[in-house]
């Protein structure tokens, strides 16, 4: 497992940042996010919490060496559950990829809270992503072999059709020559 950590600050109040979070997409830099859907949302007035489950749809080009793993599928999905505590002023988002999660899992936790030094005007953002690959060399080899067999079959079919047309084209010529002798 590999871990990615990051801490950032936004020079805006937590209230503003938490509201803007619902409008984060679309934005001109995150063009890979093509859809955001709310799947479930529950408000607990006693605790002052709002829990939301969302589906994030992404379309991102992937490196060519990974292409054979995903089999040409161009969309991927992420499930995110966020909890907002309006009394504590925290927004915690946890997300995990749904696509290819048997091979690689990216589990991300993000927390927005008021910066303790200037809580009214500044928001602290902490991000941790745990990235775990489950694919064994064996699984990768199987995938690579499947893909190669499929590609070989495609090329073989093309080869047959191509030679068929050559045979057909040469046929007349052949019979013409044969007739003369």
């Amino acid at each position: 497992m590999k871990v990615f950590n990051s801490t950032q600050f936004y020079n805006y109040s937590w209230d503003y940042v938490s509201a803007a979070n619902w409008c984060k997409y679309p934005n001109e830099l995150s063009t890979h996010v093509v859809g955001v859907d709310v799947l479930r949302r529950e408000f607990d007035p006693d605790k002052g919490t709002l829990t939301t489950e969302r589906l994030i749809t992404c379309k991102q080009p992937i490196p060519r060496w990974l292409m054979f793993l995903v089999g040409g599928q161009d969309k991927s999905y992420v499930r995110e559950v966020s909890v907002i505590d309006r009394n504590q002023r925290t927004l915690t988002m946890r997300s995990c990829n749904l696509t290819m999660c048997k091979l690689l899992r990216v589990y991300e936790t993000v927390v927005y809270r008021p910066d303790p030094v200037s809580p009214a005007t500044r928001t602290r953002f902490d991000q941790v992503a745990e990235i775990t690959a489950f694919a064994s060399l064996r699984q990768l080899c199987d995938k690579l072999e499947d893909w190669s067999v499929e590609r070989f079959g495609q090329n073989a079919r093309k080869g047959k059709l191509g030679f068929d047309s050559v045979l057909k084209n040469l046929e007349e010529q052949w019979h013409g020559l044969a007739g003369k002798t």
Partner: protein
């Protein structure tokens, strides 16, 4: 806030989603954050939107992946994976 609105994974549901989002964003800023609300408003718009996406989650084959993820990291748990919750 938010002149541009995000779309749904299913284009058929985008209209319903944007109506719901507009209602929710207002409720969130004006009521939830200010502690003025005792219930989750916009529920009617939500029901229409949810009906639409439920159909397409099924159609596009997303539902099984989602169900699996829900088992692993339940909504009721705030999306914390069960194996992690058990570690603590």
């Amino acid at each position: 806030m938010g002149n541009l609105m995000s779309t749904s994974f299913a284009p058929e549901c985008t209209d319903l989603k944007q109506k719901y989002d507009a209602c929710f964003n207002y409720w969130y800023t004006e009521k939830f954050l200010k502690g003025k609300s005792v219930y989750n408003e916009c529920e009617d718009l939500w029901a229409d939107y949810k009906e639409c996406i439920d159909i397409h989650l099924q159609k596009q084959g997303i539902k099984p992946m989602l169900d699996e993820a829900r088992k692993e990291a339940p909504f009721e748990n705030g999306g914390v994976p069960l194996e992690k919750a058990n570690e603590k």
